[in-house]
Symmetry: C2
Subunit: 542 residues, 2 copies
Amino acid sequence: MSLRTLLLRNLLRQSRITNFAPVVLQNKSYSRNEKYNWNSKRNTAITLLASVVVGSAIKDDQKENTKSDIVEAGEKRPDLPTYRAEEVSKHDSKKSFWVIYRHGVYDVTSFLPTHPGGEQILNAGGLSIEPFWNVYGMHKTKEIYEILESYRIGNLHDDDVADHSDDELWAKEPFRDKRLIVKTAKPFNAEIPPKLQVEHFNTPNELFYVRQHMPVPDINENEHKLTVTIVGKNTTVKEFTMKDLDKFKPVTLNAALMCAGNRRSEMNKVKPVKGLSWTTGAISNAEWRGVALRDLLAHCGLDPDHLDDLDGKHVILTGADTDATGAQFSTSLPLRQALDTVLLATRMNGEPLPPDHGRPLRAVVPCAPAVRSVKWLQSITISTEESSSHWHLKDYRAFNPSKTWETADFSTAPPVYSLPVTSAICDPEDGDTVQVKNGHIEVKGYAYSGGGAKVLRVDVSADGGRSWREARLRTDAAPPARHYAWALWAVEVPARGDRQMEIWVKATDSNFNTQPEKFEDIWNIRGILGNAYHKIKINLKY
Amino acid sequence: MSLRTLLLRNLLRQSRITNFAPVVLQNKSYSRNEKYNWNSKRNTAITLLASVVVGSAIKDDQKENTKSDIVEAGEKRPDLPTYRAEEVSKHDSKKSFWVIYRHGVYDVTSFLPTHPGGEQILNAGGLSIEPFWNVYGMHKTKEIYEILESYRIGNLHDDDVADHSDDELWAKEPFRDKRLIVKTAKPFNAEIPPKLQVEHFNTPNELFYVRQHMPVPDINENEHKLTVTIVGKNTTVKEFTMKDLDKFKPVTLNAALMCAGNRRSEMNKVKPVKGLSWTTGAISNAEWRGVALRDLLAHCGLDPDHLDDLDGKHVILTGADTDATGAQFSTSLPLRQALDTVLLATRMNGEPLPPDHGRPLRAVVPCAPAVRSVKWLQSITISTEESSSHWHLKDYRAFNPSKTWETADFSTAPPVYSLPVTSAICDPEDGDTVQVKNGHIEVKGYAYSGGGAKVLRVDVSADGGRSWREARLRTDAAPPARHYAWALWAVEVPARGDRQMEIWVKATDSNFNTQPEKFEDIWNIRGILGNAYHKIKINLKY
């Protein structure tokens, strides 16, 4: 085992990470799961968690592994005993926990507490981990294969070896524009290149940043139904087809969507965090069109002015994308906020929603982390409970810089339903060489604030904060306190002979909140809400 | 003239300050003004602007001047010519501008452009400045008398010397609790001592911080009327007595009021700013009770759901407090914000409004700078125009740190209708010596955010930001996005043998906005919105 892998394994042992709720397995016979066909041979993967935890020691997370790495893991080893699947399947508890990978049988009992994905691993007790790794492709790296092999105890009997292919699983992924900067391939996560980001106020659909948790579901629009359940003394359930939704008054809103982890890579430089290593490209803006949630719920009999305990209720949104256990993506938000802001969108920038962005129907929750804007929307439930999914309960919560994975309590931390003010320089990019014209260079970027606030002012400094220049702003004409779009900005910065320049940007929003100078004081274990000043260094030529 | 005064005069000449709109004088015969009796001899004063501009060079603005200072200015000087009042009164234009002070006649033509109060000075052309200085008591300091005397050209004829006393003007000022920390006496501005600030969630009325612009009007509650004007095709005007207002459904809200300049003294340390040198005591919290503005306007026929151009309208609030020209205090805010948040309050913490806090009626505009919460409310006007008062047009607007009085354009800068997240340490205070008990000290303070946001978390550091401890919070139970009260916090900080400790605090609000670390990047000419970390240094004993 390489030193790097040994280091990773020790780190995993030390960091007791439980960022997923336990998922109780309903049916352990995956070969009978009608949703996925496990029977094909090709595997590809990119690590995620490992590379983030170990930082620069791990290969760039955008490279795919070579064939030789794949051959090493799960190969038959004549020096080891052979086990039947039935025997392996008995070892499915925390006291003795075995798994299968291709020809290999592994005793990972001592590894369980250090699994970064938490107790999700328990679903694989006594079974092959391949179907799970087909969904959670970030496992498929040399380093993780090496860790796996360190727990090898034997071979699976030839008659029990199954072919778990992910061909079918990922066969229906939509076409993606080659200009997108890919962070992970399966699931697909990609950001928009900075210079393209500021070319249009409304980001073209094919360039809108993409964040998936799982494969993109392929939905037949003519058969798709949205179920609305209002829990109460007399619980009501109503179903809507896409044609039914077309009958409602169409509402348009111009809104940005931003991942809570946008700019995480900058926070990661201070101290490693867990999550996708977004730079500044996990935000885009569009004109959305559809039905106001408020109108749909009114049709279902929900009258906010005469509702008991309005502030104690939540809107649970569930999508059609599912993980290996069949669990559907789900999250929730407070009812009051949902009534005020949520659009059930069918169109994006004048076109039907693309598959990557939720076709045929998604929630658009302005001003909140985009995780709340559930795609491929299947159901809406009004309840006194929040969503019980692990994505909702064990993630998207913020802590102070001193909280660790051991001391952070996700169950008591408030969920993130809003976003602080942020901004970024998109053109030029860090490291660029820029031609000075007439003693100036032009600098462009974006700014954005959640909670309905508007960006009021953007200031740029090229002298370490000693002086600031106010940028020209381009914003949407939405009313105050209901401002959902981003702002694009541009400013001329004088260049007087220096060969290099460091440029800072900061935005002030309509509540006069502004950004912290550095990431140290806002660092948090999940690397979210990173809104310190964006700073770049460029070279100048005259 | 002392060096200090010379310095001040030069600074004033260099800084062309026009932070007040021109006020056209209606009636120059002040002796006939029925509101004030000028005929008495006593003068007292505290400087304001001068001490702030020159910073530490000027005496502490809380001390009253000695009698010897007063004797120097305006005394008869046998070496100079004598003028009749009629002659002086002809010199009332920018080409030749004379004023009177006691026995002195002064040609201040060349001083006009540098008057920090802007063109307000034009009202005194050819007249005595004493009535004006009786209202704007911040002029009455040794330094300003010296500047005045440097423009001396003669004596006023004995027969024309009048006695302008401010006894009557300030005779009806309410009784003030001696524990308040006075910044200026006339008008009265005082902050609450830090340790008292955190004793009660709702600040006792007698300790609530006080900010006056002018003398406190003495209003007969039984005769007081509130006029509501809705400007439109058919402008409507309605009058309400206090008894009329009692008939509306009472509404209660718990809200903090904070001066936009709270913590200005900390910003002033970076670079001098103009304004009252508040420390952390210009914020308090109370339970307010009265009539919702929305309900009153509905009664007057205003239906927000069927109103043209809701977002283009403003609510102009006018109070009964007036300046020397008779102009009443006035400001405005956007109609939508007003409908959502404004209370017309008659009671404060269960008692009728005290005189200092607006008896019998005031606006309470939560989440906004307290200047918008007009006291002694006399009229409400719904209009497409903002208030035209100088307090509204030429103040309470924010700029980046590089804007100067010359380059800052108040007419295009957006008004401040909200407040960013802030926090302060109240107990212990800076410089205290604290007894360590069981290896800890207890630290307490407040936190607050405008725009309806709730304080979510307060973190304290005693090691320069390397580690942070989360404080216990006490907040109000208001619904999200409509959170108007402050939060009080407390935390135990370990003390392990150090003799000194520097403590920092920062708050995070429900939009996950947090505070900038230092004042440099948020500095602005008026010293408002100063929400960088509050930091104190204390001594420890064991």
